[in-house]
């Protein structure tokens, strides 16, 4: 008879390697990184044990106790206690520990035992523990704790063999009888007692060498130096933005000429007409103009993934805590904000680790102000068209400097907005505590970085192929129809729907220096920021007529004034041009109101910033 599905759950303190184990067992590619609080959702996966048992395993957010202080910890608590709606209790809980740091997990395990669920203690990261000379008397530990104990190395091939074997052994003799759940929230005295008990057991079963991780302390003496640390942080961000420009350039040019050649080929092979125009102007100029930014997006992700895997994120939070505190946030919020450089959506999800509701809400509201990678195409396009690529002070690329300035403007405005929110809306506010484990540094693993980049690149291309492509079809259609009447002398596009819509909106946007082409591009740009670039590509390509092989950047340089270009940059620092972000804000705050608030305040800021930039620039003679 087929045995029923075996339900496993991964529970443990943050950063102990639960998701790494989950990935190793199920072959999935969930996000792994070296800081506490990476996983904020429950994720289910499936695998088959060596003896052929079908298993469902659930990865959960890390937690120090079952009290459920923040939304992510509540997910874990509810799952373990069977409070999650429609969820079966796990048949077997895998309590995952970082072997170099057993105190907190063993305390958690003593608390978990009260839930009555069958359990295994998994001593993960056993490779690091062995390297440091930590030795664990596994048999004795199992006896003292009253649960089976097994070692594992989640990131090494075959590192979970013992765990799998033990799972088979235990699942064969699991009783169907429901065990009693005697868990209730622990009092302070009970917490203390469990920690004491844990410390006693560790003293009996684990021998720690006298040498701590000297590499981590040496790096930290520089990276966490009160002044030096901030300099290092600024330097890292600065190098990141320089790299986005300097390293990506050759590849982007290659892609660019590739798309140009493709456009020329289509132009030459197909007869002039709608199909030729659709392929050349709509698809190749539009979608192509976004895809050329892939190298830049990969570089920014590479930096963020390296920082995350190395263990720097928690340090950045430490350094920024007081500075963020001045704006009414706490350091913990810096990690979601830094992730928002890649994309605001995971950034907003990551705020689940923030326990204080108001802190979390403020962080959600300002996360979209951080410069996400979707702004890169817009920024780069305008910067390369209008800012000369010369070096200042001999070594700093001026274009990179402007890019850095735009990122800085994003961060600064996020802090200012947060300050204003705290000041006007959440007055009676006391600073929430900042308590964060600083994990030991780990050498970033090539494989996980490669997987991370691959997934992001795939996502970007998928978006180019779906959202951006369909928006382009729409824009191409609007810009091509209705066709001009016979004998018309004006450019064909002037008769199109796009021109009609754009010109209707133009008076609204004229004060900020936007022409009707920009107005049209901003509408599909509400779906996703990069779309605006593609839309401009298409509109100008159609307007340019048959010889439109010119690159969009060159077109802009001749069609826009510098003031318009700068105004557009200012607009994109703030504008709420991303439907998915707004949807996530609605989901995470559980309210349409906050979504509307975000949308409105960002739109107002965008308009105000553009208005100011445009008028100052015109006043200075850049009109």
């Amino acid at each position: 008879m087929e045995l029923p599905l075996l339900h496993l759950a991964l529970v443990g303190t943050p950063n102990s390697g639960k998701t790494s184990l989950f990935n190793a067992l199920t072959g999935s590619r969930q996000k792994v990184a070296n800081y506490p609080g990476v996983t904020v959702e429950r994720k289910e996966g499936f695998f088959v044990t060596p003896l052929g048992r079908q298993v469902s395993i659930v990865d959960l957010p890390g937690t120090y106790s079952l009290r459920g202080r923040s939304p992510d910890e509540e997910i874990t608590r509810d799952f373990v206690l069977g409070k999650a709606s429609g969820e079966a209790l796990p048949d077997l809980v895998l309590c995952v520990a970082d072997s170099t740091n057993l105190r907190l997990t063993i305390r958690l395990l003593l608390e978990l035992k009260r839930t009555g669920r069958p359990m295994i203690l998994v001593l993960n990261m056993f490779d690091i523990a062995s390297r440091r000379g930590i030795s664990v008397d596994v048999a004795r530990l199992a006896k003292e704790l009253g649960v089976p104990v097994v070692t594992s190395i989640a990131v090494r091939k075959g590192g979970t063999a013992d765990l799998l074997a033990l799972t088979d052994e235990i699942s064969a003799k699991l009783s169907a009888e429901p065990a009693e759940n005697s868990w209730r929230a622990l009092s302070v005295a009970e917490l203390r007692a469990t920690q004491r008990e844990a410390d006693r057991i560790i003293a009996d079963c684990v021998s720690l060498p006298a040498r701590p991780d000297t590499l981590t302390s040496r790096i930290d003496s520089v990276v966490l130096h009160p002044v030096g640390g901030l300099v290092v942080l600024a330097l890292i961000l600065f190098v990141m933005f320089q790299a986005v420009f300097a390293w990506a350039q050759p590849l982007m040019e290659l892609l660019n000429s590739g798309f140009d050649a493709l456009g020329d080929f289509v132009h030459a092979t197909l007869p002039a007409g709608l199909l030729q125009s659709f392929l050349q102007n709509g698809v190749i100029s539009g979608v192509g103009s976004v895809i050329v930014f892939l190298p830049q997006i990969i570089i920014i992700f590479l930096f963020i993934l390296l920082l995350e895997d190395f263990g720097y994120m928690a340090r950045a939070a430490f350094l920024m805590d007081r500075i963020m505190g001045g704006a009414g946030l706490h350091g913990r919020a810096f990690i979601p904000l830094l992730s928002s450089f890649a994309c605001a959506i995971p950034g907003i999800m990551a705020t689940r680790v923030i326990d204080n509701k108001r802190d979390r809400l403020t962080t959600i509201l300002i996360a979209p102000l951080m410069t996400c990678s979707a702004r890169i195409p817009v920024y780069t396009l305008i910067i390369s068209a209008f800012i000369p690529a010369k070096d200042v002070w001999g070594f700093i690329n001026l274009q990179g400097l402007v890019m850095f300035g735009l990122y800085a403007a994003g961060i600064t405005s996020a802090l200012v907005v947060s300050f204003l929110i705290k000041f006007f809306m959440l007055r009676d506010y006391a600073p929430a505590p900042f308590m964060l484990e600083l994990p030991d540094y780990k050498v970033p693993r090539l494989k996980s970085i490669a997987i991370g980049i691959y997934t992001r690149a795939k996502m970007f291309l998928q978006r180019a192929g779906t959202t951006i492509f369909s928006m382009m079809v729409l824009i191409w259609f609007l810009a091509s129809f209705p066709q001009p009447p016979a004998g018309a002398t004006e450019p064909a596009i002037d008769f199109s729907l796009a021109a009609i819509i754009g010109k209707a909106l133009e008076p609204l946007l004229a004060p900020v220096g936007f022409n009707w082409q920009i107005a049209v591009a901003l509408i599909p740009g509400m779906a996703a920021r990069e779309v605006a670039v593609a839309a401009l590509g298409t509109v100008y390509a159609i307007e340019g007529g048959k010889e439109a092989a010119e690159q969009i950047g060159q077109v802009l340089a001749t069609k826009w004034s510098l003031a318009t270009a700068l105004s557009m940059l200012a607009w994109y620092i703030f504008a709420p041009q991303c439907a998915s972000t707004l949807a996530v804000i609605r989901r995470e705050t559980g309210s349409w109101t906050w979504m509307a608030v975000t949308f409105t305040y960002m739109l107002v800021l965008a308009y105000a910033a553009s208005l100011l930039t445009y008028n100052v620039a015109v006043g200075l003679g850049a009109g």
């Binding site: 105190r103 917490l191 920690q195 930290d220 805590d321």
Partner: protein
Amino acid sequence: MTDTHDTRRKMPLGLAQRGYTGVIQHLSAGDAGSALSDIELESRLIELGFVEGARVEVLHEGLVGRDPIAVRVDNITIAVRRREAMAIIVA
């Protein structure tokens, strides 16, 4: 634990300088003036391993107001603000 600890003066960890090493004597959440309730603060500190008898060392401090501090508690490093660290009485 050396016996110098018995003779050293008790003080809150929140006042300790960088380089300070000591042993936790007790927790006194009421003195911290944290935004958290006393029980909540004490629970969290215990969950992060701040219990009586644990060895602590102040490894790093931030720039502004020398806050927050990075504290070695046995063999892990925890960042806390000085305000919350006032609840940890060491000697």
